[in-house]
Symmetry: C2
DNA sequence: ATAATTTTCCGAATTGAATCCGAACAAGCG
DNA sequence: CGCTTGTTCGGATTCAATTCGGAAAATTAT
């Protein structure tokens, strides 16, 4: 059973292993990523992998958690800017930031996400949900009139999941029928129009 | 290298293997589904697996194709009914049919889809896209006024991908924030509102 | 400083699942 | 029937994941 690292040296080892996991996965794909590869890239012995990880799967799981955590950290500081924008622009911005983020480091994350489904679909999305829910919450506070639209929880759920998967799927799609910008624009317009339509319905009802 | 089955006997074997794959995967999960399990359930020797499948992965791939194909076949005959409905009702119907389909056979497909990604289903979605695109195309023909809304390709792309993944994700979500019906209603309303809003914009511009 | 203790690292040895292979069994065919 | 081709099988082989026991490094106690 794996131990928790107590010293700096071992924390560095754990880091190196996770990092090596990303490199190996992006270079060789999921099928050819062996424990020996990861160990070699990390510059440690194979045995060391099992000091801190239950098994190979656990390494992928740690990678997934790190990825989601990094994504959340990337979005967090954007919050104040996003909540000041019109909603469709906010969505476009968010999707474009997410895309740039995935393409960093020579597309390492993107390549990994392409195989992510293959390796650990259990993407530990919770921290990402938390940040995005927070953005939405603040947005509603900042634009109180939007509180009148119905089905906010459902639209939020669909927006978050739809957004995440639409981007991942689009970037993995070898021959997408629409460009990324068109897709981002479509998603933004869809939610934007939904809200506009809802508000006009509310107005009609009250007026 | 795998052969194509020439006789009925071998075609039955291939079928039995794919079928056994579904059973094994739904019973034991992806980690414990070994080639011996699949062979045993199929009632064939392990060696037989490799007569028609390159490797274990190829069996999962065949399962994926079969699943998508079955899904498409399920949707196909609904087309005439769907195109006569208001769009939001059509979407709700489609999502509910998809859900029932996933829950058939004691949820076999659903259990598999839950693990699908974990096992490297690169879901071969093409046939499903084809059927759904067809439904949408016919819908547009049947309701010519909707041809005036903009971003139809993007909305189609998002609608299809978003719909598929929203359902799968929701059914896999141990603690969804909204009920299935709320989600279906949300997706239906979002697209319905989008079209209404677009049409009202077009009307304003021309009037 | 030195010993004792804990933490970390390692890689040869083990294990077990995936895959191969060649003999045996069936089917089609003159 | 022989002959060819298609099919099945399961033991033997291969190779990656995991284990294990001890060496090396760091930390703590004396």
């Amino acid at each position: 059973m794996p131990r928790k690292p107590k010293q700096d040296r071992s924390r560095a080892t754990v880091d190196a292993i996770v990092e090596a996991g990303f490199i190996a996965l992006s270079q060789r794909g999921p099928a050819d990523t062996t424990t020996r590869h990861i160990a070699e890239i990390a510059g440690v012995g194979v045995g060391s992998l099992y000091e801190y990880f239950e098994n190979k799967q656990a390494i992928f799981s740690a990678m997934s958690q790190r990825f989601i955590s990094d994504t959340a950290s990337m979005i967090q500081p954007l919050t104040p800017t996003l909540v000041q924008m019109p909603i469709d622009e906010a969505i476009r911005t968010l999707l474009n930031e997410f895309r740039s983020f995935l393409e960093r480091d020579d597309g390492r994350y993107l390549k990994c996400v392409r195989h992510a489904m293959a390796v650990d679909f259990e993407l530990h999305l919770d921290p990402l949900y938390k940040v995005l829910n927070n953005v939405i919450m603040r947005y509603l506070m900042e634009h109180p009139e939007t509180l009148r639209v119905s089905r906010i929880p459902a639209i939020t759920y669909i927006g978050i999941n739809g957004g995440i998967f639409a981007v991942i799927r689009h970037l993995s799609d070898p021959d997408p029928m629409v460009s990324f910008d068109e897709m981002a624009d479509g998603l933004a317009s869809m939610i934007g129009h939904y809200i506009e339509r809802e508000l006009s319905l509310v107005e009609d009802a009250s007026g």
